[in-house]
Amino acid sequence: MSHSILTASPLSTTQTLCAPSGVLEAVATRLRSGGVMLATLNTEARVVFHDAAAGTFFQRYVVPMLQWADPTSGQSTLAERVGRLDASNGVCVWDFIPGVLVAAAGLKHRKQSTGTLLLACKSSSFGKTEDVMRVCGRLALDATWLKHQADPLPSYAEDALQRQLGLVNGMVQDQVRMGGLESELESLSGQLANTYEELTLIYQISSGMRINRRAADFFKQACLDVLEVMGVEGMGVALHAENFHRQEPVIYGPLGLPPGVIHRLSEQLMTELTQRKSVLLVNDLPHDKNYSWLGEFAKTLIAVPLQRQDQVLGCLFGLNKNGGEFDSADSKLLNSIANESAIYIENAMLFDDVHGLMMGLLHSLTSAVDAKDAYTCGHSERVALLSRHLAQEAGLSDHQVERVYMAGLLHDVGKIGVPEEVLRKTGRLTPEEFEQMKKHPEVGARILRDIKQIADIIPGVLHHHERFDGKGYPSALSGQDIPIMGRIICLADSFDAMTSNRTYRKALPLEVALTEIRRCSGTQFDPALTEAFLRIGVDRFRDLLTVHQEQSKRLIDLQQLIRGA
């Protein structure tokens, strides 16, 4: 019987921790110095903590009795007392075993009983009672030895122990409350950290909405950012092809999907989201009636439509949330990102629209000029293409390169003011005719000056007949004083003039034209640009002009229409 007492293992029973062990250790240490042992019981009155350093007296005489349970019912000896304690909602002090006084108080957290706080000490009756001997017998202890162990310990009266318990209970409850507050603070800080992440993410996405940025780049960055913040294995985007540059659906992240799967998924999502127009959450793909086919690749799916004014332009989708399911916080975040992204898409579409309209108008204007003279058919377009290549070769920025292209396109717009008989004249021009011809750069600049969006290309139009040695027109500028666009177009213009048929001569072979260009480097042309131009090479020029010839069919048709009429 005594063996069963000593081997009883209270910690194996259901545990309700009523206070953090760090708090208990600290309180126990203080009590220990006053000869009092601290213990706690769970809601089933089993010992879950006791001060193991309280001393031999407690360890050998008191703890085994606290841990003792009825061998048949398995019920703790303390259960009855503690049960009554709960009902009375108070504190009780009693002679637990001969010579030992125990005080107990219920521990509560949010009005729920979480266990019992228990103090034990030597009582003033220790040594006087015969019953100590009887308990010693049960525990196989030598009574004289026990008395020797108990001697240095102070003994307490009931009211003194009760006061101690009151203090300790207050301390422990405070500590428990503080522990609760600390973990609450921790969880709030965690949530706040997530909010910071989301805020930064949305900020990053909106500041990444530069209009001239390619859609693919914008969405790649957005997906990669969301991937990390939301914690998913795959983040993708699908856009309606007709709206957006025939952008293929893509997915980023460690979850690799075969292209066929991405296409099928994006088509299904587009169809579904176009109708439901709100977030879609599927947290069990293998068993979903619509998406079970995706089950072998992923477990969970979230998707939101990208929409502007009720029109669904595309969607964002995430797959496999790390360690769990997609929830309302995820859908809220993804919705905000979809809203930001939709603004970008709409802006980009508007930009494309306006840009397309402007380029269309510029091309029309150019065609109108070129149509005046059969021999210069496609000249403006070719000069634009050549200028773009030269600008690229010379290391100008992407933006500058596009502006040079536009300037090239418009460089001869002023010829609209030159009489057709002068433009088409086969023989040598008279000085008067030449004066009329020389006006076209200024006329062109004048025609364009009211379009403020292209003010930066006017110098290219105005100065494309300046010469590097200062002998050109209209301003006789020389060297670096000639705007770079003017110097570039001058080269491209001369090259195209030499390599096209003219009323007075056949087109020169490319090689001959290039030799001529080299010969005029430093006099007519900027030597550095000449070098860049020659680097382009005969083969690439040939390719360029072939491509252009196919494109200029419509212009030839236009000229035939004019001549026929």
Partner: protein
């Protein structure tokens, strides 16, 4: 998992001082750093941070710019002036759109700037970067 544990253990030898008068920033930053295994000490103003830097000798300082008593920049200047704290590298948190003169940062051991609201993930990455640079 064991990789993560060993990284945390390695980080545990590093002590980081965080100074900000806004307590929510302190909580968010120290939670993020503690979860990554770092030891963290916090200060609520520049003066307290200065005292703690002298007492604790942290491996890194993360400080807000706008603080009562001693601004983040003044704190870094004071630390730089004392040989025992002159080599503590610093990460400065500032309001968005606020810029320090490059001479102020380089002369005072301010190796990185982050603007608020910052991403805690990004802050942690920056901390690891700076400590790695120091170790190299």
């Amino acid at each position: 998992m064991s990789d993560e544990t060993s990284i945390k253990e390695a980080n545990g030898s590093k002590k980081i001082l965080v100074a900000d008068d806004e307590s929510h920033i302190l909580h968010v930053v120290s939670l993020k750093l503690r979860n990554a295994g770092y030891q963290v000490v916090t200060a609520r103003d520049g003066q307290e941070a200065f005292d703690l830097a002298n007492a604790e000798h942290p491996d890194l300082l993360i400080t807000d710019y706008h603080m009562p008593q001693l601004s983040g920049l003044e704190l870094c200047q004071k630390l730089k002036a004392d040989a025992s704290t002159a080599n503590i590298p610093a990460i400065m948190l500032t309001a968005r759109g606020y810029h320090l003169e490059p001479s102020d940062t380089t002369q005072n051991g301010i190796l990185r700037m982050l603007s608020k609201p910052f991403s805690p993930r990004q802050l942690l990455a920056t901390v690891q970067e700076v400590l790695l640079e120091r170790a190299a």
